[in-house]
């Protein structure tokens, strides 16, 4: 069984009038546990489609998308929800926290989706938030947090269910350089210590120093740009 995330010649087509647009054109990529991969490219290159397909939000038109060796294309909508809940951690843009939940509840609601919140889940969530430096913000609402704190909450939320894959969608949008470095180095650190397969989609090339492999996306085609033999560690 192959661990991690594997896309094999995955394509996604959209019909636009008579033309067929390939948003993803035979993309193949393999991300192993503990590996942090960056996908960079201009807007409109298909990065979002790529992340949606990898994250079980969209089904590929052709090809295979496998998570821990299991093909996702044959799963029902409910099974995909289940898969996203347990196997995939999304880190989205800063605004994507639930506005009426405090930091701790942002994590506990994910547990709620899976069933009951046990005392152990609560303890785990608090521990995770403390690790990410949010120990004194447990009861704060998103509107009271800084951009960096919001993003760290989002990171914690992605890790709470101990997923196999972490997908980050422009995690540094709306952050200044210092905060952006903080956030990405934190993701890199968590990914390596917890051995997750992680993909970060970004347009910010300054941040790719934290990644093991850097792919470039252009017109739906994904190519390996370079491999980083000694990615930057958390300072």
């Amino acid at each position: 069984m192959t661990e991690g995330l594997q896309l094999t010649a995955a394509s996604k087509y959209y019909d636009e009038g008579l033309n067929r647009i390939a948003a993803l054109d035979r993309v193949s990529i393999e991300v192993r546990p503990g590996e942090f991969v960056a996908v960079i490219g201009p807007s409109g290159s298909g990065k979002s489609t790529f992340l949606s397909v990898a994250g079980a939000l969209l089904k590929a038109s052709e090809g295979e998308v496998a998570l821990n060796g299991k093909d996702m294309s044959k799963l029902s909508a409910n099974a995909l929800s289940e898969l996203r809940l347990h196997q995939i951690g999304f880190i989205m843009q800063a605004s994507n926290l639930v506005p009426y939940l405090n930091v701790l509840d942002q994590l506990l609601v994910v547990k709620r989706m899976a069933g009951k919140v046990r005392a152990a889940d609560r303890a785990k969530a608090i521990k995770l938030l403390e690790e990410l430096g949010l120990g004194d913000k447990l009861k704060s609402y998103p509107e009271e947090l800084s951009g960096g704190e919001k993003q760290r909450t989002a990171i914690a939320r992605a890790f709470i269910n101990d997923p196999s894959v972490i997908l980050a969608d422009e995690p540094t949008a709306s952050l200044d350089t210092k905060r952006a470095h903080e956030v990405v180095s934190l993701i890199a650190h968590e990914v390596r210590t917890r051995r997750k397969a992680a993909i970060m989609v970004t347009h910010d090339e300054r941040l790719i120093t934290y990644c093991d492999k850097i792919y470039r996306m252009e017109d739906g085609k994904l190519t390996l740009a370079f491999t980083n033999s000694s990615p930057k560690k958390m300072s």
């Binding site: 979002s48 992340l51 949606s52 994250g55 939000l57 969209l58 409910n78 929800s81 289940e82 898969l83 996203r84 809940l85 347990h86 995939i88 951690g89 999304f90 989205m92 843009q93 800063a94 605004s95 994507n96 639930v98 506005p99 009426y100 939940l101 509840d105 506990l108 609601v109 994910v110 709620r112 989706m113 899976a114 609402y141 939320r157 992605a158 269910n161 969608d169 422009e170 949008a173 709306s174």
Partner: protein
């Protein structure tokens, strides 16, 4: 429940506003239903509390006392009909009672005179005084509300436009007819007053307005076939046949219906708009693994909590209103009625929230990946 409750606590003003609207609507629903109930009691309490199952009217009288004239000779024949356990005649007449020799407006009271056979099953239970007797023909028992007009036990009052005077020997409760207090009297005496004008009895011997039957398994059609010139109906149909009863009740029911429809729309539209506003949020939660069921439950439980709280508040307000309402107001709250309308309101608001649940199931989790900023 988790999401629902957290959000309710966080956006208090928003939910408070809709709760206020819902409280006002359900308050009005309860008041109207109390008023409707009060009015119909006032109009027909005597009929409704009567221990009769079927009513025999003259054919073609539209089940209305005032249009029906029968001979009491029929009673004997009716008693012979299958399944008829008891038979008793009844007559009604509107009149006004004058207290003493007074000529002022305040001392004239509208009453409904109801002629019955003393001691029959039509005679209501006495709360004070004594019942009717065949010996004392001018003794009457009257509804308690006449006490409010200054009538006491043992008082003798005149009938307007008639030399007759009647003496109150007993009080009964909850006996109103045609919106006024009922005065029960021996049917012989009633006959004298009702057909005082020569010829007004159309030559019918021992005239009465209707004959009441007891017997739960009576077949009215069979009776109508065997005896000519009569129309046997259920007691409920006789209530409906009272002049103005259907119209009065219909008006109130129509208002109630509209109110319930309006409340359904207000709650439904509010939560629908609210859900639309939050579609991005729902998208995020779907992306991180929430099922439609999870999110749908959050919305429905929110509607449930909000509606239930509003209904409870409005029930309290309604009882508060009832307490300060003037005595003469035909307002009558029954716990059963309040409970029924509470359930109806709750059901309606829950049903209307399903529009939002449908919307949620259509939200695409891909929205979460949209470039928001």
């Amino acid at each position: 429940m988790f999401l629902a409750w957290k959000e309710l606590k966080h956006s208090k003003t928003r939910f408070l506003m809709i709760a206020i609207i819902f409280v006002l609507i359900s308050w009005l629903v309860f008041i109207l239903s109390g008023l409707g109930n009060g009015l119909s009691t006032l109009a027909a309490a005597t009929f409704k509390t009567m221990k009769a199952d079927y009513v025999v009217f003259e054919q073609g009288s539209k089940a209305s006392m005032s249009k029906s004239l029968l001979s009491n000779d029929l009673s004997a024949a009716l008693a012979e009909m299958p399944n008829v356990n008891a038979v008793s005649p009844m007559g009604t007449m509107m009149a006004s009672a004058i207290q003493g020799e007074s000529k002022s407006n305040e001392d004239k009271v509208d009453i409904a005179m109801i002629g019955i056979e003393p001691g029959s099953f039509l005679e209501p239970a006495i709360t004070e005084g004594t019942g009717l007797t065949s010996e004392e023909m001018t003794s009457v028992i009257v509804n308690e509300t006449m006490k409010d007009e200054g009538f006491k036990l043992g008082d003798t009052f005149q009938l307007d436009g008639s030399p007759a005077s009647l003496t109150i020997v007993g009080f009964v409760e909850n006996q109103t007819y045609n919106h006024v207090a009922a005065v029960f009297m021996p049917i012989e005496e009633w006959r004298k007053l009702a057909f005082a004008a020569p010829g007004s009895d159309k030559g019918v011997t021992d005239p009465v307005n209707a004959i009441m039957l007891q017997g739960a398994t009576i077949d009215p059609d069979a009776i109508n076939e065997q005896l000519a010139g009569i129309d046997t109906v259920t007691r409920a149909a006789a209530v409906q046949g009272m002049p103005g009863y259907k119209e009065e009740n219909g008006t109130i029911m129509m208002m109630l219906g509209f109110l319930l429809a309006i409340s359904a729309f207000i709650i439904g539209v509010f939560f629908y708009v609210f859900t639309m506003q939050k579609s991005n949020q729902f998208g995020i939660m779907k992306a991180i693994g929430a099922t439609n069921r999870f999110l749908g439950k959050a919305v429905v439980s929110q509607v449930f909590v909000l509606s239930l709280a509003s209904i409870i508040v409005s029930v309290l307000l309604t009882y508060g209103t009832a307490a300060i309402m003037p005595q003469g107001m035909p307002f009558k709250l029954e716990p059963k009625l309040v409970f029924t309308y509470s359930i109806v309101l709750l059901a309606i608001s829950l049903l209307s929230s399903f529009a939002s649940v449908r919307t949620i199931s259509k939200i695409d989790p891909l929205k979460a990946l949209g470039r928001v900023e």
